[in-house]
């Protein structure tokens, strides 16, 4: 276990979790990602690797304002996606094909790369690691897993599209553009695994050929059930 003095990681000594030093909380604040901590704890406790839902602090986390707020918003979403695909690959659904496993692992690796990219860019402005809540997902069922993946990817695409006009820095806008296209590739792939021909259907592409766009408020509402902590986007830019 490593000390947590790297940027973006909470200082151990100041964490309220130390008032309740459960093994999982200790691992979390010792520098393990939230999901790895839960996975390890779950291994010992339940003999499986499924994350334990609903066991985080539930506290409110302010995303911040300006470009930093938008970056934290994106960081939060990438954390969620990375955690989800990590969980899927740790305990794949029944009869997963080698083909599906290979490409889901690729997606997982992209999301982890995105997550770590935002962590690095944000530095000391980064929000803490979030605790995912995947209790609504049946990880042994292909349809449940892929439908959740589709929701995350579609939501992610709409989030980046909606955030575009809120970003001030041209450099960050360029980077967001390079990420949203990857998320859309993920979404197209997942959609095809669920239903041939749905890769770019009218549920996400408008009559003008434009992909969906959502405001941060809309997205935060959609992802709230999957995150134990409450994300506070009240200081994000709105125009």
């Amino acid at each position: 276990m490593e000390p947590t003095n790297s940027p973006g990681r909470p200082d151990l000594a100041q964490q309220p979790a130390f008032a309740h030093p459960s093994r999982r909380n200790f691992l979390k604040y010792a520098g393990f990602s939230g999901l790895a901590a839960t996975a390890l704890a779950a291994c010992n406790k339940l003999g499986t690797t499924k994350p334990i839902p609903g066991s985080g602090t539930g506290k409110s986390i302010n995303l911040g304002s300006g470009d930093t707020g938008i970056l934290n918003y994106a960081f939060a979403l990438e954390q969620l996606e990375a955690a989800f695909y990590t969980a899927v690959l740790l305990d794949p659904y029944t009869n997963i094909s080698p083909f599906e496993a290979l490409y889901l692992a690729d997606i997982r690796d992209h999301e982890i790369a995105h997550r770590e990219f935002f962590r690095t860019v944000l530095g000391t402005n980064a929000i803490p690691d979030l605790t995912p809540n995947f209790s609504s997902v049946n990880f042994s069922d292909r349809t449940s897993v892929l439908t959740t993946a589709k929701t995350f990817e579609d939501t992610g695409v709409s989030a980046y599209n909606g955030a575009g006009s809120l970003i001030s820095s041209a450099a960050y806008l360029t980077l967001a553009g390079k990420i949203v296209s990857v998320e859309a590739r993920h979404a197209a792939f997942i959609r095809e695994q669920l239903s041939y021909g749905s890769f770019a259907d009218s549920t996400v592409v408008s009559a003008q050929g434009l992909d969906t766009s959502r405001t941060p408020a809309q997205v935060l509402t959609l992802v709230a059930p999957f995150i134990v902590e409450t994300l506070d986007g009240s200081n994000l830019p709105t125009s």
Binding site: F99, Y160, N161, G162, A163, G164, S165, I167, S168, S169, A170, L173, T174, A176, G177, K178, V180, S181, A188, F189, E192, Y196, G197, F199, A200, D201, V205, S206, A207, Q208, G209, L210, D211, S213, R214, T215, S239
Partner: protein, 167 residues
């Protein structure tokens, strides 16, 4: 069309304009007002980033319109390509592949229409569709893997050779 290229092109043409925090927002207001029907949230990420405003008065429309017409040209290229493929008898072997390419081709046509109307809404003139030469491609130009994943639609890199000289 690779919107990243569009954004990069804007930065190359007008680097100063891209960093003005207020400028993009002013353009959004102008767009939604003038066009009436282009909702802010309907703009995809790339397009939302390409508008910038000159220091003093109005928007740097010549640069903006130039870049939008560049994007429109790429959309003409793609739309024409898929139209050609879809109408070629016996070229696309399965219904599933045909339907997928029809979806893509339809979107490209919609992009052409959208960019044309956006350019007009900004007071510009959309470029006409160029004469394209698609003869470089192999007999099966659209390589679709067995799994049905859609190939990267990046424009063939020396794209200028596909565009007729009168552009």
């Amino acid at each position: 069309m690779n919107l990243l290229d569009v954004i990069n092109e804007i930065e190359t043409q007008d680097p100063a304009g891209m960093d003005k925090p207020g400028s993009r927002r002013d353009i959004f207001k102008q767009l939604t007002g003038a066009a009436g029907k282009i909702a802010l949230t309907a703009l995809p990420l790339g397009l939302s980033g390409i508008f910038q405003k000159a220091e003093a008065a109005g928007p740097s429309t010549s640069t903006t319109l130039g870049i939008l017409n560049y994007a429109l040209t790429l959309e003409y290229l793609e739309a024409g390509f898929y139209k050609m493929g879809l109408s070629a008898q016996g070229l696309i072997p399965t219904t599933r592949e045909y339907d997928a390419i029809l979806t893509i081709g339809t979107h490209e046509k919609e992009h052409v229409a959208f960019l044309q109307s956006t350019i007009k809404a900004l007071g510009g003139t959309p470029v006409s569709e160029p004469k394209f030469d698609y003869t470089w491609q192999s007999p099966r130009p659209l390589k679709i893997p067995v799994c049905g994943l859609i190939k990267d639609r990046q424009v063939h890199s020396p794209g200028a050779e596909l565009i007729s000289p009168q552009l």
